[in-house]
């Protein structure tokens, strides 16, 4: 009977810990609602030409004619959007390079984990992080990555001098 009581007490303690962990601070307002929102219409408007081409391609069954498919879809898009110049950039978007949707800051998380785990010196970090970001920025033609790389390099450089 004593053992049973101890067991019940253990279960109660365990469930209370779980419920305490789930009890979050409720700020009672809408502080984050705007932060975690975006304008879907703006997204649709910015990507409408690309979406049109995407839909045209998805309706095609034969994928072997890559170049002809592209030209046909571009012509259809030019007809539908006569006042817009549609250019499709060759090469992979950053999300593709980073194994999907990490973005430049997500890459920073990876670098942080990698460097913190191996306790590499600041001098090495000052080279590894910005050079990686810079390389990716050049390859994906992403000015944000390039700018971030330069900022980090300069901040580390300044700390040594």
């Amino acid at each position: 009977m004593e053992k049973f009581k101890v067991f019940i007490l253990f279960v109660l303690l365990l469930t209370s810990q779980i419920s305490l962990a789930n009890k979050h601070c409720d700020n009672g307002g809408d502080v984050y609602s705007e932060l975690f929102s975006y304008n879907q219409q703006q997204v649709d408007d910015q990507l409408k030409e690309i979406s049109f081409i995407e839909q045209s391609l998805q309706s095609q069954v034969d994928w072997n004619g890559g170049e002809s498919l592209l030209q046909n879809s571009l012509q259809q898009a030019q007809t539908k959007f006569p006042n817009t110049v549609i250019e499709l950039k060759d090469g992979m978007p950053a999300a593709f390079w980073l194994g999907c949707c990490l973005g430049p800051i997500g890459l920073g998380i990876i670098i942080v984990n990698h460097e913190s785990g191996e306790d590499i010196g600041k001098a090495v970090l000052g080279c590894v992080l910005p050079s990686t970001l810079f390389t990716l920025g050049v390859v994906t033609e992403d000015p944000f990555l390039i700018e971030l790389a330069v900022e980090i390099f300069l901040s580390v450089f300044d700390s040594f001098h």
Binding site: I53, G99, C100, G103
Partner: protein
Amino acid sequence: MKILFLLLCLFFVNQRVHSQGYFRFSADFSIKAKDAAGKGTLTMGRVYYDKNIRKIVYQTKFPEIETWVTADTCMFKFANGKLVQKAIIPSVVEMSIYHLALNGQLPDFGLKKSFFKVEKVEKENEMVITTWLPPSNFANKIGKILVSNKEKKLFGIVFLDVKGAVAAKQFFNNYQNYKGLFFPTEIVNIKVLNGKELYEVTTYKNIKVNDYVDDNLYNYAIPR
């Protein structure tokens, strides 16, 4: 009492096993984006990932028919079955959405197992928002990360710069259930550049989980 204790143990073990039962993911993908110069990007194809093999394999159909493989610290590009490009990159596989989803780590974006620390957890309406701080030696380089969950699913991530301004956002929409694995079929990336928002939208269709068709594609041959 022994039977009750055994049943409880079996219950918790079952929960653990169930969460580790997903090991393969494949889907048709489409990535649409526009850069600051107004140039559009459209990439379409199919992605394959096996968490035990740890290779992300993209077979693109548009704009070119190519295969891109990310494995460990390398990225390979193949065309017509031949290697045409190789790059050394940080190991990104374990931070990919596929690896996080298959391992049940998507709700915290994998940050729980990182060197980032929780600053605070808040609740607003139906959202639970966790604020993560970078390690102190990175505090002047990378800002805070805010992760929001709705119904225990990752909803949005906001990346702040060191000055506290929004640098980027990601939203995970339209979750669908695949054999018990919930996966977002639309991901919206928002980058803030010079006060302007640039969008990148990734969509997934024809998702298959733990599938054995196209077995060889999950372990695409790469040079050693």
